[in-house]
Amino acid sequence: MSATTTTTAKIECMIVEAIVSFGPATETVTREATFESLDLDSLDLVELSQIIEEEFRVQLGTADVADLKTVGDAVDLVVARTS
C-alpha cells in the first residue's frame, strides 16, 4: 500500500468519524453521500472544517466549504491540499 493510499484512507476515516459524531448513522456516511442527504447544514460544515484544520493543518475557507457537496468531495479536497 502506497503512502498516498494510506493518507487518503486516514483522511477519509477521520472525516467519516467527524461526520458520524454530528448525528448521521455510520452506514449512511459513504463517499457518495451528500451533506444534504445526511442532514448536515452550514454550521456542521464549519465545525468539520475546524476539525480538518486541527487534524491536517488544512485551512478551508467559506468558499471551499460552499463548493463541497459530498463526503467524497471533502476527502478529495483535503487529500489534494495535503499532497
Partner: protein
Amino acid sequence: MNRRVVVTGFGAVTPLGVGARRLHARWLSGRCGIDDGVARCDEFDPSEHMSSKEVRRSDRFTQLAIAAGSEALADAGWGDELPYDPAAIGCVIGTGIGGLGSMEAGHDVLRDRGPGRVPPLLVPLMMTNAAAGVLAMRHGLRGQTFSVGSACAAGSHAIGVATRLIQAGDAQAMVAGGSEATLTPLATAAFAAMAATSRSGISRPFDRRRDGFVMGEGAGVLVLEDAKSAQARGARVLGHVLGYAATSDAHHLTAPDPTGCCAAKAILGALRDAGLSAADVDYVNAHGTSTPLNDRAETRALKSALGEHAGRIPVSSTKSAIGHLLGAAGAVEAVATVLALRERVAPPTLGYEQPDEDLDLDYVPGPPRTLPPRVNGRPPKPAVGLSNSFGFGGHNAVLCLAGSG
C-alpha cells in the same frame, strides 16, 4: 380578555425524576431530590428523549425542556397532528440564564485553543430562546415563540404571558414553561459568592435554621389551551389558569423588599384577575427558597395579601424537595401545584421543624395534608391555589391556579 385558559398537559424533569406525575408522587412520599447539597436531574438521560443530532445541537437546558415539552404535548393528546392551526400555537419558555454550560465550554476553547476553534454552534446553544425555538421546531409550532428572562420568576412569567396571549386571542394554545441547567462551576461559585446558596446544603424553607437555597436544575412545561377550543376538541382538562399578575419591587438588585408590599400586590392582582378573594384560596405553593430574606418577606406578603385567611391556608415549598430550579422553578411549581390541587392535597415542606420568629403560617410540616372542602356542596369545587415566584431584580409573578377532573 374573557377567554378562559385550561391546562391540558404537564411535563417535568426534576431532581425527583423524569415525569410530572413522578415529581408529584415522590414529593408527596417525602422523598428529597437533593444529594450532597446539589439538586441534579440524575435520572435524566437526554439520549432517551432525542436523537444524537438533537443532543449535540442543544444545551442541557434545552434538552430538559425538550423532554418536559414532549411529555406535556403527549399528555395533552397532541399526536403527530396538532389540534389547531400551527400559526395559532406558540411557545414561551422562561430561563434565568440559558445555555451557561455551553458558554463556559466555549470560553474554555477560546482561552485554550484560540478564536478559530470556537464552536459554530455556541451561539444557538447558549441563547436564552433556544429551548423555545427548538420546541417550536420539534413540534411545528408556528405562533409566537420566545423566551422570558426574569431570573427565578421566569417560569411563572412564561405561563402568565402565554395565558395572556390566549386571552387576547393571539393564540389558541400555548406551550409554556421554564428550563434551567446552571449547575456549572461558574454559576455555582457566583451564587456562593453572593451568599445566596446554602452552606449546609439543606433546603428547609421557612425553618429557623434555613441558610440559603440549594441550586437545582430541571424543566417544567404545560400545555395551555383556550377553554372553548379545548372543549370543542374533547380535550381532557387537568386544571385552569384562573389568574396572573406580576409586579416589581423597584427596591434592590437581589434582595426582596422586606415589607413584601409589591409581592403582596402581585398576589392580590392574581386573585383579582381570577375574580376571587383570599377566602377562595385552598393552598399556596410558596416561592419559599430557604433564604433568610425571601421566606421572611414572602410570609409578610402572604399575610398582607390574604389577611385573616393567611393563617388558615396551607403554604408549602416545592424547593424543600427539589431545591431551587431558578428560571424553571415557577413552571415546575405550577405543574406541582395543579397536580396537588387536582387531588385536593397540600404537599409538605420537607425538613420544616423549627419555627422562626414571625414566620407563623401553616407551612405543612410532616405528611401531606388533605385540603378540606370549604363549601358545603358536594362534590367540592375545584381546589384553588396560588403559586408565587420572585426573582433577582425584584420581579414578582403570581399565578392563580385550579385543579380539574
